[in-house]
């Protein structure tokens, strides 16, 4: 026997405010002329319907239900002169009076409307096609300050840092980082290891820098740091900013094999 399938369509709401707003609109009421008792009943009805359909009810909806019930009970009970401050604490909604609730609803309604407005703008704007070079810029408008070029002509790291902080201090600054060059750290590590194995001597860091440019220096340095961390090499330096010397650490044949395997794995 086939089980009859019930198909009840419940609208999806963005949150408790969205649901409340929908209930008020359905009752064709103005936000300011809704009674808490009525709206609470309707709100709970909706949650019950969700429950019957075995839908997950997000915790926010339950918090709102509790908030509504508390507001309702407050209105029914005579006011006590002593108010317990701890009782007023609420996580997501700090709503303690009906007035606050309606103010919050009204605020939400405005942003919901702006959301609709933005949707229209989005749709309209999507009908306009702009020129696109498919990511390959044929010509880039020269800008006075560009983050793309902050390392051009810089000789020291401090040059770049100074330029960077100058730009970053400005309000309109938006960081855009692009990989300038593809590089493989593993290639560099292999090269350093190979050179050291062949020379069997202590070598200065400079001897591993094969190309011009800051990036090459950075890659070499990072590769050496990583190798030192893995106890493949030892780095020696007399004092700050003096030449860094690199020497192979005593490596057992087993360990060497392991490293070689790692290298091939990484480059595959």
């Amino acid at each position: 026997m086939e089980i009859a399938e019930y198909k009840i369509k419940l609208p999806v709401f963005e949150g408790p405010f969205d649901l409340l707003f929908h209930l008020i609109k359905k009752a064709e009421l103005d936000i300011w002329s809704v009674s808490i008792a009525e709206i609470t009943a309707q709100y709970l009805d909706y949650l019950r319907a969700m429950e019957e359909l075995n839908l997950d009810i997000a915790s926010e909806f339950l918090v709102m239900a509790a908030t509504l019930l508390r507001l309702k009970s407050k209105m029914l009970l005579p006011r006590t002169p002593l108010s317990n401050a701890d009782e007023e604490e609420e996580e997501l909604f700090e709503i303690n009076t009906a007035e606050e609730l309606f103010l919050r609803l009204e605020e939400y309604r405005q942003f919901k409307e702006i959301g609709h407005y933005l949707k229209e703008r989005e749709q309209e704007q999507q009908k306009i096609y702009l020129r696109s070079t498919g990511g390959q810029k044929v010509m880039v408008l020269t800008r006075q300050e560009s983050v793309y070029t902050i390392w051009e002509g810089a000789h020291h790291l401090s040059d770049i840092m100074n330029r960077f902080t100058e730009i970053a201090r400005k309000e309109e600054y938006m960081p855009v980082f692009q990989a300038v060059e593809d590089f493989m750290l593993t290639d560099k590590t292999a090269y350093i290891l190979d050179s050291l194995n062949r020379s069997k001597q202590v070598m200065p860091m400079r001897s591993f820098v094969r190309k011009e440019g800051l990036w090459e220096v950075i890659i070499t340095f990072v590769a050496l740091l990583e190798m030192a961390r893995q106890r493949i090499v030892m780095l020696l330096q007399d004092s700050s900013f003096s030449t860094i010397y690199v020497t192979l650490l005593e490596v057992s044949p087993d360990k060497e094999k392991e490293i070689a395997e790692k290298q091939t794995k990484a480059s595959n």
Partner: protein
């Protein structure tokens, strides 16, 4: 430089650029006053309109950009396959609206207006570069502050933030008097 030639330069600049071009930038290129470049831009826009071209020049994100007429979208889509860019969800549009008006704003502030957790939506908008982190709010936890980007203006075709509709003022006094009446109703 002849005026026609200047307009040609502006047209070519807009054609080449993938981003909005400001009149300041044009003034710089043509070595003329900003007011003059604005005047030339107006004339160029009028030229495009009167000639009923398929391309238009429109103000957006503090500058001007060239694009196809919206009315042509249907026909153009027959010739080109569009890169699928999913539209923003209702939740994303709500968060976008809140950030646009309340910026700089924290996640908690956004969530308290919407009444729901919005972390995921905020992350998505950050990824789409429609909002950005503008700093941290002083106070407990120093939460991140979010604000809109130039991409936001472009995405929604806004000249600037002033281009957004004005928020209505909420009349609290009107409400309070009504509420007094209502609470009486309930208690009886």
């Amino acid at each position: 430089m002849l005026k026609n030639r200047q307009k040609q330069v502006i047209e070519a600049l807009l054609f080449l650029s993938e981003e909005p071009v400001s009149t300041e930038r044009i003034a710089e290129v043509l070595a003329i006053a900003k007011e003059e470049s604005e005047q030339l831009m107006k004339e160029l826009i009028a030229d495009f309109t009167s000639e009923e071209r398929g391309i238009m020049i429109f103000p957006v994100a503090g500058g001007y950009q060239m694009g196809t007429l919206p009315a042509l979208a249907e026909d153009l889509e027959k010739a080109f396959t569009e890169e699928v860019s999913s539209n923003l969800s209702t939740a994303a549009l709500e968060v976008m609206a809140i950030v646009a008006y309340k910026q700089p704003v924290t996640r908690i502030e956004i969530e308290s207006i919407r009444g729901v957790r919005s972390e995921y939506v905020i992350d998505n908008l950050l990824k789409r570069k429609l909002i950005r982190v503008s700093g941290r709010k002083e106070g407990p936890g120093r939460p991140l502050l979010y604000c809109t980007t130039v991409d936001f203006l472009q995405y929604f075709g806004l000249k600037d933030l002033e281009d957004l509709p004005v928020l209505e003022e909420t009349n609290v006094d009107e409400y309070s008097s009504q509420e007094v009446e209502k609470s009486k109703d309930i208690s009886h």
